[in-house]
């Protein structure tokens, strides 16, 4: 009987160690499930996701392996119609498994809170002036003096179904969002008609845009490349087509692009919603229902 007990404890220990190491490994994999880390905020968020995946994997594997163990080893023998042991509860055990989740919740919440504070992404405009960009300092390895430079300000207009970016300094409009890397960017988000959502998966950042509300949104791109901006809040028929390219480039390239765009005359941009709408309206057989007509393609200096 004693050997049986030692064996049980050994099984339990081996199981616990296996579950721990597997979940740490799964937590490390989490980074590979995510898009490239193109903004300083994405580094923070990915660490948080990895932490939560590790913790979650531990709980999931712990519960399911216990269940699977029971299903394999605690089956009723054929023709055994007796009941199992009438155990109704165990106060110590119940207190422990209530206390541990409470502690975990506070741990997860405070870690999430710290990450959120460090992101400093803003939201509704009221609190903008209280923002301290230095709070981002620990977030990425860019030179500290980069943070001291003025933030880049860009106006973003969302409408059914197009994005228009306006660079107030040079009064340029574009359908591509160009951003200098390693600079804090402040976007002024506006919607012309319905709710839209500003979302760049590579930045891990999202903010709804509400008509009649000025919403400022701040972040710091850190990795040069081309990414996609999508509308994340359902905005009607051509919702899926409401996308734009985001180009993160060095500050020099960015200035060059601005200068070059300033020389161009405004021209109508390509717009998928408008062209699809024109096409379906010309079909002899209507396969869908009536829809809100898309806004006219925007006139921009740089149609992208």
């Amino acid at each position: 009987m004693k050997i049986q007990k030692i064996l049980n404890i050994l099984t339990l220990l081996t199981g616990a160690i296996a579950v721990t190491f597997t979940s740490i490994w799964i937590g490390k994999q989490a980074y590979s499930w995510l898009p490239p880390q193109a903004a300083a905020e994405s580094l923070l968020i990915d660490d948080l996701i990895s932490f939560l995946v590790t913790l979650g994997a531990f709980i999931f594997l712990g519960v399911t392996s216990t269940l699977i163990y029971s299903v394999i080893f605690h089956r009723a023998v054929k023709d055994d119609f007796t009941d199992g042991p009438p155990i109704e509860g165990n106060v110590t055990l119940e207190v422990v498994w209530t206390a541990i989740p409470i502690l975990l919740v506070f741990w997860i919440a405070s870690y999430s809170y710290q990450v959120y504070e460090q992101m400093g992404i803003q939201g509704p405009s009221e609190l903008v002036h209280l923002h301290n960009p230095l709070a981002m300092e620990s977030a990425y390895a860019a030179p500290a003096n980069a943070l001291a430079e003025p933030v880049e300000k860009i106006d973003v207009l969302a409408k059914q179904w197009a994005w228009v970016f306006h660079y107030p300094e040079r009064d340029i409009t574009s359908t591509e969002l160009h951003l200098p890397s390693d600079r804090r960017v402040r976007l002024a988000l506006k919607s012309q008609d319905v709710l839209h959502g500003f979302y760049i998966p590579a930045f891990r950042l999202k903010q709804d845009i509400i008509p009649n509300h000025a919403i400022d949104f701040e972040f710091t791109p850190i990795l040069a490349g081309q990414y996609r901006l999508t509308d994340s809040q359902y905005s009607g028929t051509y919702f899926a087509t409401m996308q734009a390219n985001v180009i993160v480039e060095s500050p020099e390239d960015y200035q060059q692009w601005l200068a070059q765009a300033a020389t161009q005359k405004p021209s109508p941009a390509k717009n998928q919603a408008a062209s699809e709408y024109a096409q379906t309206s010309n079909q002899s057989v209507q396969t869908g229902w009536v829809t809100v007509p898309p806004a006219a393609p925007p006139l921009v200096n740089s149609p992208g």
Binding site: G56, D83, P86, R228, F239
Partner: protein, 553 residues
Amino acid sequence: MTNIPIEGILLPNEKPKHESSSNWKEYFSFSTDHKVIGIQYLVTSFFFFLVGGIFAMVMRGELMTPESDLVDRTVYNGMFTMHGTVMLFLWTFPSLVGFANYLVPLMIGARDMAFPRLNAVAFWMVPVVGILMMGSFFVPGGPAQAGWWSYPPVSLQNPTGNLINGQVIWLLAVAISGVSSIMGAVNFVTTIVKMRAPGMGFFRMPLFVWGVFSAQIIQLFGLPALTAGAVMLLLDLTVGTSFFDPAKGGNPVMFQHYFWFYSHPAVYVIILPVFAIFSEIFPVYSRKPLFGYKVVAVSSILIAVVSGIVWVHHMYVSGTPGWMRLIFMLTTMCVSVPTGIKVFAWVATIWGGKLRLHTPMLFALGALIMFVFAGITGIMLSSVPVDVHVNNTYFVVGHFHYVLYGTVTMGLYAAIYHWFPKMTGRMYSESWGKIHFWLAFIGTNLNFLPMHPLGLQGMLRRVASYAPEYQFWNVIASLGGFLLGMSTLPFIFNMVISWMQGEKAPANPWRAIGLEWLVSSPPPVENFEEIPIIISEPYGYGKSEPLTANLPE
């Protein structure tokens, strides 16, 4: 077809003492018998489950390729709107109300619900809602296309210019469904508070009754908010008021508050009875008392209370100030504590038991595993920074389908198999049940697991077309979806054939403890000749003490 005898269960050849009315026409009548109403709810809602499933398969067909090529964008938008609406308001809600109707009076030793006629009226509003919803496909402009959230201003846009349009019908149907649910809630709460058999204190109630009680209390405080929001939106849409219309100075975010104040707790309205079904099923097939019965009972009430202060987690990115995001993050995470208590209690109930893996147990175990997964992704979603990234992506879609299919629908299947002998007086076929389970379990995971990587990569929900790099996981998800659709076929076959010619069921085929198992299968009209007197706690497996003083065990 004959049924395969259930392994390890003896089926004595006793004849039920009194048959309940075997006249099928009764199920199409304005019956006030809670059992007839329960089955009316179940069959009606299952019909709409199939309708909602067909919509889902059109969507998964569209998403097989990155381009929008199978159906027009407007048709796709109508499909996902109606899929969500039908599955919530015409499948999960009414089917669980169906079980509650059938089981609550039996489980508390009552002859019927407190207000039988109100009960029947509440049921007959469900087909009305269904007919309205389906009828909206035939109005010019088609059904509502603004998603089941119907956020303004999109839901206020009316390109047809007609007064009668899909969105107006949708709002009317939702309001009627709300009225029906409020009627039901009043009835359930009254029945449970007032009509328990002598000796049945609150801590002698079966956990299913606790689950229904907690869920219906949420209905009472939450539904008025949703109904108010729906009526205000209806006024904006039809007579041009400006509650939510930003073009006239209204505030669209207010609608989100009204909507989610009810619609997040609505998830608990659905899942609390399913948790309760688990609590009924695990003890029977593990032959052990439910571990920590009192704590599990109280945790249902705790979930109902906390559910009232979590709704803003749907609105982290809706221009919500930082302090509010953080408060609602903490309250949302707190839901995991009472939920965790339940999960651990079920695991402890199963541990060391004498398990019999009949179909109901398989479904309950599968659902529990998928619920644990859903709970973990739920914690991730409640964390503000993670939600900022994955909000409105397929990660969320994957999460709530693990809740609503993996847990709720699988739990409903468990309940249907478990109480099928009681409801119909016939046994179902165990082998067809197992085929159904494996198809459904594999299908669910194949369908909804790929949605998590898609969401982490940034694929949005409600899109008819997507970037080509998302295709691989979408194809897997679609194949899983088609498998899920197919998995209903063995189920329907089993239910229909077994109901018509399955082996006759004894009163208590599972040797379960509970008042409903003391009456014949199916139970007679008015349930009990003599109202039982309760003398012990439920789930006395292995304790061999009687449950009642005056009824035969």
